[in-house]
């Protein structure tokens, strides 16, 4: 075993005299001849692994082992050699002095008293805790794992693999962001599967439904712009006049959570004028006529206009244009499904697309996202549980992990008692700032016996941990990334050495496995060998090879590849529902306690005490709790604010720049006011983010209210992030 520098020092007396005797601890004689010239600039291929539509191809520029700058990869046909503002700040992330550098231990948790420990000691402590819990409770179920989207690289599923290799554990299951929409499309089409975004250039008419591409998927804009240059009209429907909405030919400031009502109104008008593509709808779907009856008996333009706040003539205008301008594309954003009726609203919009025959067409589609290019081996994720592992007996009688709801994490962790959850392992995840009801999260963390967090920065979650393990950035790792939006896949090379003692999730898993097996042979099944590149290579399989038209992953080093798929999803008409057709009438939905048809479901009404809706959408300068803490971002966007409509502000005596207290029974936040008519009079907007040296967190007032769907495909319903009601006062 190679001695680490620290161990080496420990056993060496510090004495120094002449050169011959000089005792180096940190420096060492170079074997090669001294060459102090600047190396040639080297480039590497990387892929931004963040939870983002665009998953950009990147070129990193490295000189003398130091990352000098990051550019877009011109060989990437969707991101086209350009990055977003976040992508250009990566040097600040990699080389920030704030990075978590070494494994560290906090005693007691939350005290801020940290000791630096070796990887060996960290693994020893963790392994012993795992084994102790296992012997105390007879299973590893007291260990709860929560990982989500901090890094979507496929090799990072080694974090899941870490858990599966120690036995059956408690798992935070679900996805917070988009599950209601996923289920909606699953009920309707069998899964989520959207057109190639590059295909949007072929659209003659475009509706962006609660989608702020300018901030969250900016590389789609050139394709939208191209369509517009060719004459397409852009309509944006959103309660907030976003940057994207500001560019639209028509912006509709709809009442929050009433998108389904607008789509129903449109559908009724399309029906009345017989602009329905009866052939497509009847040949490809089940239950269409049933829904038509529903429209005829239940929906009027009056009602739709009343519900949505959109004048009838506008509903008529967009209905006519959408139905008669072919092909017409709709893009459903994740914001609009974060409601208690969000999934249902997406189902109605899906039906609108089916009704007009826009599904399965190039330049059309009801686009939401896809996972068609994610057919990797997940080699690092799938490990058998050690022999004799005791698991949780699920409702189907099978033994396995105990799944709890990621979207009501604090509550669900606390609710377990057979056995209780005693230890948390967090990777790629910062519930301390991102989960609903921050106060409940804090209490839950306090109740744990042991918390391990793998991260690169000292965020709220690390603050509440016993042990933090330093995570590599994507420039320090091999990996492969796919997108849930475009069709490209790229390899991520190791461009620089991992800084300090940071390690990837797989390397951590290997170390843990070694330690656990030393302490108790057979207690962990995770492999203990493999270079980072080998781990990445193992994610490739014949399916991925043929999808990309390659025979070896190394071909991706020449440039990212686009999956060989048709530009229009569902063009073959082979839907993946039980009936193999579009299910306007979904028995599955009905079985799950939801309406079988895309009918109107009431939105959540504001309680009297808390009449204002607080929107906490994705920020421009960060991605969840990433990026905003970097110094360049702090210059570009130094502090959070809340956008308030001047009319609402006047009602509460608030002026520009005032500090505003936003609160409800769950908690409160204080933030600076910005008066703007870009928001609606009953909606205030504050963008979620984790700022450096700030306790700002929009989730203190957010109740973990589930959205209506998500359980079917993702295991749990989503969070109705946008059904968050508060009141305000001048602070």
């Amino acid at each position: 075993m190679k001695l680490s520098r620290r161990q080496f020092i420990g056993g060496t007396a510090a004495a120094a005299a002449g050169a011959a005797l000089f005792n180096f601890n940190l420096l060492t004689k170079s074997v090669t001849a001294a060459d102090d010239s600047l190396e040639e600039m080297k480039t590497f291929r990387n892929v931004c692994p963040r939870n983002c539509y665009d998953t950009c191809g990147q070129i990193s520029y490295v000189q003398n082992g130091i990352l000098k700058k990051v550019e877009g990869d011109p060989k990437h046909g969707y991101t086209n050699g350009k990055l977003c503002l976040k992508g250009y700040t990566y040097t600040r992330r990699v080389y920030s002095p704030d990075r978590v550098k070494y494994p560290m231990k906090q005693t007691p948790r939350g005290s801020g008293n940290w000791t630096r420990i070796s990887w060996d000691e960290a693994m020893d402590t963790i392994a012993k805790k795992i084994l102790e819990l296992k012997s105390r409770y007879g299973s590893t179920l007291p260990i709860c794992f929560n990982k989500y989207s901090g890094n979507f690289g496929i090799v990072h599923y080694g974090a899941e693999g870490t858990m599966s290799s120690i036995g059956y554990t408690t798992r935070a299951l679900g996805t917070p962001c988009w599950p209601a929409g996923i289920d909606a499309q699953t009920y309707d089409f069998g899964t989520l599967y959207s057109n190639d975004p590059e295909d949007m250039v072929n659209a003659k008419y475009l509706i962006l439904w609660g989608q702020n591409a300018a901030w969250t998927a900016i590389h789609t804009l050139p394709f939208i712009n191209k369509a517009r240059e060719r004459g397409a009209k852009l309509v944006v429907i959103d309660p907030v006049l976003t940057s994207t909405a500001s560019k639209a030919d028509l912006y509709i400031q709809i009442n929050s959570s009433t998108d389904g009502a607008l789509a129903l109104g449109m559908a009724r008008y399309i029906l009345d004028n017989n602009w329905v593509d009866w052939d497509y709808a009847r040949n490809n779907s089940v239950g269409f006529d049933e829904w038509v009856d529903y429209l005829k008996t239940n929906i009027t333009l009056d009602w739709a206009s009343e519900k949505t706040g959109v004048p009838q003539d506008i509903i008529r205008e967009i209905a006519r244009e959408y139905a008669t301008t072919k092909p017409a594309s709709m893009w459903v954003g994740y914001g609009m499904q974060r409601h208690i009726n969000g999934g249902q609203n997406v189902r109605i919009i899906d039906a609108l697309g089916v009704m007009t025959g826009n599904v399965g067409k190039s330049g059309g589609g009801v686009n939401y996202g896809h996972l068609e290019t994610w057919g990797f081996s997940y080699n690092a994720m799938v490990n058998p549980a050690p022999k004799g592992s005791k698991g949780f007996i699920g409702p189907d009688g099978k033994e396995g992990d105990r799944n709890i709801n990621m979207n009501n994490f604090a509550h669900d962790v606390m609710a377990q008692n057979d056995p209780p959850v005693k230890m948390l392992w967090l990777a790629c995840r910062n519930p301390g700032s991102q989960d609903p009801d921050t106060n409940a999260i804090e209490k839950m963390f306090a109740a744990m016996e042991f918390v391990v967090t793998v991260d690169s920065f000292f965020n709220k979650t690390v603050q509440m941990s016993d042990i933090v393990l330093p995570a590599t950035t994507h420039f320090e790792d091999w990996d492969v990334m796919a997108s849930y939006w475009h069709y490209w896949i790229g390899i991520n090379q190791r461009a620089i050495d991992p800084l300090y003692e940071s390690k990837s999730d797989v390397e951590i898993a290997m170390l843990l496995s070694e330690k656990m097996n030393a302490l108790e042979p057979g207690s962990c099944t995770f492999p203990t060998s493999g270079t980072p590149e080998e781990w990445a290579a193992k994610e490739f399989n014949p399916g991925i090879h043929s999808l990309l038209g390659i025979s070896d992953y190394r071909e991706l080093i020449e440039g990212p590849r686009k999956a060989k798929m048709t530009p229009a999803s569902w063009a073959d008409g082979k839907f993946r529902t039980p009936s193999k057709k579009i299910e306007i009438h979904s028995d599955l939905a009905e079985k799950n306690g939801l309406p079988a048809l895309p009918v109107w479901v009431e939105d959540m009404k504001a309680p009297e005490k808390y009449p204002i809706r607080l929107f906490t959408p994705h920020p421009q300068h960060g991605l969840h709790s990433q990026f905003q803490n970097l110094d360049w971002m702090m210059t570009a966007n130094p502090e959070p604010k809340v956008e308030i409509h001047p009319v609402l502000a006047a009602k509460y005596g608030i002026s520009e720049g005032d500090k505003v207290k936003i609160y409800n029974d769950l908690g409160s936040i204080i933030v600076k006011a910005h008066l703007t008519r870009t928001t609606s009079p009953e909606v205030i907007v504050s963008y979620e983010a984790w700022y450096k040296d700030s306790n700002f967190n929009v989730n203190y007032t957010l109740k973990a209210t589930p959205s209506d769907m998500g359980k079917q495909a993702t295991g749990n319903n989503g969070v109705a992030f946008h059904d968050n009601f508060v009141t305000i006062e001048k602070a």
Partner: protein, 188 residues
């Protein structure tokens, strides 16, 4: 001077993403504080409808650069192609150019106690490449152009936008295509 290079900013296309601003920082790995290029949001009250509209501005490489005129150490020079180059080595940090520029584009670097600004990526331009900000602009709202009569006669090309200082002061080498407002169905 044989020509005048400059920027054409299309506010109709710009979504205020600040990619240009960060691409600039990325190219030169600048310190945090100085913003050679900055994206500004136009004030809502200057337009009939509230919208998020932006323009992006770096040094305007003016035809009459005030910075160059007032600088006591000749740190500023104007190249044949009109680029106003600031020589960081010559600068003594007197900050007179900061007082003189109506656009606040020379930026003081508090760590180095010197001024710095956009040099229009002249090294890139000399190699036939686009400036980093232009190359990074996803909606293609920012372009490198030659400022001349022909450009000024093009439809929709403006010399200024509401909220900007009069171009008469320095004759900035920037032109705009104004923001376009779509139809808005509002509830307020």
């Amino acid at each position: 001077m044989t020509k005048q290079l400059g920027f054409l900013h299309n506010s109709e296309k710009c979504v205020g993403c600040q990619g240009c601003e960060m691409a600039c920082k990325n190219e030169y790995q600048t310190d945090a504080a100085p913003r050679w290029r900055q994206v500004f949001q136009l004030r809502e009250e200057d337009y009939s409808l509230p919208t998020r509209m932006f323009f992006s501005m770096a040094c305007n490489h003016c035809a009459n650069p005030e910075c160059l005129r007032v600088c006591p150490v000749k740190a500023y020079t104007k190249r044949e192609d009109g680029i106003v180059v600031h020589d960081h080595d010559r600068c003594i940090g007197c900050r007179l150019c900061l007082m003189a520029c109506p656009y606040d584009r020379p930026q003081f670097n508090p760590a180095q106690k010197k001024v710095e600004k956009c040099n229009l990526c002249y090294q890139r331009i000399d190699k036939g490449e686009k400036p980093a900000c232009v190359a990074a602009c996803i909606p293609e709202a920012l372009q490198l152009v030659e400022i001349n009569e022909a450009l000024d006669q093009r439809m929709g090309v403006l010399k200024t936008l509401p909220g900007l200082p009069s171009p008469d002061i320095t004759q900035p080498a920037i032109r705009f295509i104004g923001p376009k407002q779509g139809k808005q169905i509002r509830r307020d």
